[in-house]
Subunit: 324 residues, 2 copies
Amino acid sequence: MEQDFVVGVDIGGQTTKIGVVDRKGNVISNAHVIRTDSHTDEMLFFDDLTKAIKSVVQETNTTGKIKGVGIGAPNGNYYDGTIVQAVNLTWGGRKTIKVAEILTNKLGLPVTLTNDANAAAVGEMTYGAAIGMKNFIMITLGTGVGSGIVINGQMVYGHDGFAGELGHTTAVRYNGRQCNCGRVGCIEAYASAIGLARTAREYLESNIDKELFNQSSPLREVVGPITSKDVYLAASQGDGLSKKVFDFTGTKLGESLADFVAFSAPQAIILFGGLTKAGDLITKPTEQAMNENMLSLWRGKVAIIVSKLPESDAAILGASALAW
Amino acid sequence: MEQDFVVGVDIGGQTTKIGVVDRKGNVISNAHVIRTDSHTDEMLFFDDLTKAIKSVVQETNTTGKIKGVGIGAPNGNYYDGTIVQAVNLTWGGRKTIKVAEILTNKLGLPVTLTNDANAAAVGEMTYGAAIGMKNFIMITLGTGVGSGIVINGQMVYGHDGFAGELGHTTAVRYNGRQCNCGRVGCIEAYASAIGLARTAREYLESNIDKELFNQSSPLREVVGPITSKDVYLAASQGDGLSKKVFDFTGTKLGESLADFVAFSAPQAIILFGGLTKAGDLITKPTEQAMNENMLSLWRGKVAIIVSKLPESDAAILGASALAW
């Protein structure tokens, strides 16, 4: 049997990554990256993207063997293949862009699109830790907190295609942190990389908690704004204050996960993204808080798993999986 | 074509209701009720139930025309037809009871079982306000708060059959009310009939809010513990304090609904049960709080609908719908 392939496209705010992927989830092309933010006109960006896709297909000698193109993008809607009001894209603005239609016309290939976190969930189900799982929730812990929900073996898109915005459920109802979405108290404002760094700064700068305020920490020596990486490095070298930052972050996340479990009773929750590099520092307090906050019937029964996809390729793999 | 029928059985803590239902959702039998709590041995209860089902089938001349039996029960598991650790049933206790298997053997009919709120959702989808809806969430506001979730036209049962425990998601994370489930701050402790009555008592008795503490109200004349019905009667006669109780209850409920929408992006939320008799008193603050707490993309787009099933028959109809 002749082998077939798909193209995975990960559209991010700054760059867009393109790869050719085989049935087993191997990215067979070299790294192909174009700028997302070099245009304010989406049609010029899609010209660039079309050229890049054609070039990567040519390089891998897969012309005629490509089954389709899968795209992960911010505010991507699976139902109609559009990107809707993606304020993080220079050409996204307040519009609805018919991405699947535009690219299908340019490439002559079927194009499927969804948001980045949903793509990650499909990738995990196709090639990763969720193979064979019918009910799981994917949580992406990056700059923001995203989610992809799988129930009965199907992605949950909801009535309008925008289901699974768990990063914008409420972690702290009153006096919560301001979130980028304009609302207050979202779990994204606590369990994202930005939220974690913010917790560190609050611990260092606020004198509400005298003990934390007076505690010595290598974080006090950091020049410029503290990042999640600074906190990770300090915590992995044994810094107590940085560990407390991870404990707080994991506790907030675990409390939210407990509520998600009450919704769909998943077999597992799969964590993906930058913060998961911290390993036990983040997963232990998350798991503990989740179990403490769930109905007893689920305690100890819902696994927390870190994604097994190679991080460099995960976004491309996730997007590509849509195309099968 | 000869007409066919199903039997609906609603197992409650005190009584169990049985009815024969046609394809259109008419309960064609007279009211049949047996005690649930007259036995501590489940096998004796199922003997009673079998007799009652046979008798109602005979009375309606539907022998041989019954397609199956659908049962709604506390802690009912759809996957294996069991009732698990139903502490509210005198014969439930800490056991797993193979209800579907026991009754199939006794009746020679297929028996399907799920929990009461899921049955209500199936009923709404089959005969009620959710006909044709593929994505909705049913919230039952009774003694407790239950839920049934429909996604892509399918009931959500989750990995273990116990999905949809939205009454036990967290409405108030810190210093929340004690819930019957043993945890703290569940929405059930606020938006159930019991929660509403508790809010009224807090308003009357606690002097934290001086204004409420000093406000006159017919509730102050109630002899014995205040019930949700007392609050409804007072509010519908214009009592300001009772209206504030409904506002608070609806606000808490709406805040939680906003998070549920972020999960599954439903077309509508359907409210069912005792509290919905209060009409606008409860639905208005609920709708307002839901819209204020959602991501802007959903504001004004998710309908809040009160169940259209006749309340006397709704539980039987919901259970019966499982059997089709």
